[in-house]
Symmetry: C2
Subunit: 69 residues, 2 copies
DNA sequence: CTGTGACTGGAAGTCCGTG
DNA sequence: CCACGGACTTCCAGTCACA
């Protein structure tokens, strides 16, 4: 579970669907990423990070940590 | 061509084979990466970056630039 | 609105022959 | 000895459909 991701999303009052849309990926894939099942590529990570306004390296620095920024 | 990669390697006086070995990947795969044919995963990028002592994000910040650091 | 299993195209990574 | 690159296999990012 990538709690930090979920938390960032909720802080922005976005649904998974809205976030997925802003990131140009499918809703279900975003769900997989948030749950930790799938790991995004760098490109996708950048898109999501841009959509939620955090730095994309978060995905690869703190794999599953609760760190929020 | 990822010239910046080659240059870093040469600066350290390492062959492709030695670098590949230090990065735990095959020699030919390292060749592919240096030539720009293949794109390493984050994990592999980290390994190579560690072997050649530069920051792994270089791979994803400056795709094919001549930027050296 | 979210979770998840099944599926697939394409890319990661290797092997091996060549220059 | 060192590097290039085609051919091949394996695996997983990303989607769809259903719950």
């Amino acid at each position: 579970m990538r709690m930090w991701l979920k938390e960032i999303r909720l802080q922005k009052n976005l649904t998974q669907e809205q976030t997925a849309f802003k990131s140009n990926i499918s809703r279900s894939y975003y769900t997989h990423i948030e749950s930790g099942v799938k790991k995004p590529t760098v490109e996708t990570a950048k898109d999501i990070a841009f959509a939620l306004e955090f730095k994309w390296t978060n995905f690869f620095e703190s794999q599953c940590s609760l760190k929020e920024q």
